[in-house]
Symmetry: C2
Subunit: 406 residues, 2 copies
Amino acid sequence: MKINEARIRARLEAITNLAVTEEGGMMRLALTDADKAARDLLKGWMKEAGMDVKGGDLGTMLGILPGSDQDALPIGIGSHMDTQPNGGKYDGLFGVMAGLEAVCTLADNGIITKSPLTVINWTNEEGARFVPPMLASGTVAGNFEVEWVYNRKDKDGLTYVDELKRIGYMGSMSNRFIKAKAYIEPHIEQGPVLDLEGYQVGIVTGALGITGLDVTIKGQANHAGTTPMGNRKDALVTAAEAMLELRKKTIEYGDPAVITMGIISASPASKNIIPGEVYFSIDMRHDNDTALTALEQDAIKIIKNICAQNGMDSLIERYWRADPVHFDERTVTAIETAVNRLNLNAKKITSGAGHDAVFISSIIPTGMLFVPSIKGMSHCPQEETGWEDIVTGVEVLAETIVELDK
Amino acid sequence: MKINEARIRARLEAITNLAVTEEGGMMRLALTDADKAARDLLKGWMKEAGMDVKGGDLGTMLGILPGSDQDALPIGIGSHMDTQPNGGKYDGLFGVMAGLEAVCTLADNGIITKSPLTVINWTNEEGARFVPPMLASGTVAGNFEVEWVYNRKDKDGLTYVDELKRIGYMGSMSNRFIKAKAYIEPHIEQGPVLDLEGYQVGIVTGALGITGLDVTIKGQANHAGTTPMGNRKDALVTAAEAMLELRKKTIEYGDPAVITMGIISASPASKNIIPGEVYFSIDMRHDNDTALTALEQDAIKIIKNICAQNGMDSLIERYWRADPVHFDERTVTAIETAVNRLNLNAKKITSGAGHDAVFISSIIPTGMLFVPSIKGMSHCPQEETGWEDIVTGVEVLAETIVELDK
């Protein structure tokens, strides 16, 4: 099906021009004025496409185009419009706009599906303003309580519910997207694999499981000049040893195992005091549940052993655990069929990132399709996807909807 | 000479009870109300000892007891009364109070020296409130300009000069301690050597030189889940490699070479983003100028090489350089003679820390004596020196004054 390139381009640009940082990044945190402005535009385009626009109790927007079969369950397509601070252009936004564009394309081609088509904009996927991420889809999937979500506060102490009401997008619990034939989330890869290996599309078979650990290593703070090297209990040097061993062990597990130490701090944080305590975070991911558990156990063993060798204590606390997810086979096959019909160069891939689709997959048959991220850049102003790949992604989506509607 | 233990103990306790943290640490930052309270007590005791109390233009306090020889140059004894935040009891304070006590002991024993005796309390030795450390002694020694010092600001934006005036200790430039027969600074070791090796006193022959470097390693921030291990430019892992190599190289240099990475931070500091940039500080010390320079060059080479191997850039900036200092031979010998006369178990030692004496040694024949720090604890509430060692330190000082006065 021919995509109306000018239309989707103009719409993407209308939103990516809304709240831009000096460095060219997006600044559309959930439930801010910039988010509201993007929502208002989306609402207008949904209505223009003949959709009935509804809102969920977590602020999720749903644009519903009726199908020809009154009894058919809906097919949902969507993602999120909120961004990281100074985030990328198409992270989330691509999925929502691809959904809208696919629905418009089907209409342009005179195709009326049996299933109603629901285009969805989930609230607070990034978790950048209200922690943790994916609050709306997570609640719909039964992982969070709505009252708990409502009371989440941003760094200024503003609550989710007050901000949701303030921007005028409080909806109703009865509009939650909980029963459907399928849910498809198109997304940028956010990694380098498709771009580096020359694929046009990624057929996502599932998502990596995640284990998050908070690690504190306890040595002994002391004077930088008066403590001989042999008398030190330098928590930072021990942390460095541990981090290198953790990396080595993770590489031994092979792809898709990954490990990231994203935050580190030394205390008392003085240039002339030996660090007595060091904190660092660990984020470990794997597509295999057993392997992920083994990797976590290995990591704890490595830290404990290195601390013991250096006469130090450690405190290791798990702050997060998400099991690996395997998407619905029939839905994944529908995407594959669409890709083959369009004769595209596609790769089956596991998502390394969390997505609304990961939560939704526990209640609805779910699939995802990826478009390439140039050099794998993500959560930064340099995030980019080629224009041809965006159009290709919408084509695959439109074909997938036809396939799922069969 | 017999020391009046009850007197020095009561005076030390009067000051260490002034501003105590919950953890039992000292909170007597330079030119605060707590500093003023300590100064007021010291001023009273100086007057009680028959001293003329004067003030320098940097806030330094001088208690002067006249000698019998009108033409004799003074002998100075002192240290500082300011502390680190949550600092130790005797760091600095011991030197000032030992000076006062030695002067009182000589008087108790009917000894009148030819030289006037000047007990000194230098301002802002720690550099904890106004950066850098040793602002008063550094200015007296010609390393800083007084106007520049006056305009140093604390973290709340308050200036040195305003705070000095506020607590009522602004003095005159004519009172600077710049010409003397000798300056002796008694101090706690702040390191473990005397305590571990069972010495009662350290005869300090000089001070380690210091090179300080600010290091930034520039990798590439990216998504923690979607970037395979082989496609990462993780600045924190590279920093960890560099830190371990730096430690290894420093140990190769042997004692007294030391290296400390006291501060570290990763950017963007998110648990699920690979660190794109890491900053850490390096503090390197050695008693040999050539070796210190070689160690610095080796350190820079190590960082550059490891960054190059990992395809990263680095930025290395020197924030500090202090040459190694060798104290005056005659003054050091006077301390040694006093130690031998008292039949004490003493060790010649190089100071790893900076002290007012290090600056003053460039204009006045200078020496230092150390008392043991239990387990080498310093700049923390656990800092401790045994009561016997404190008394012994005062005895050595009193004998040293007699020796220097010959």
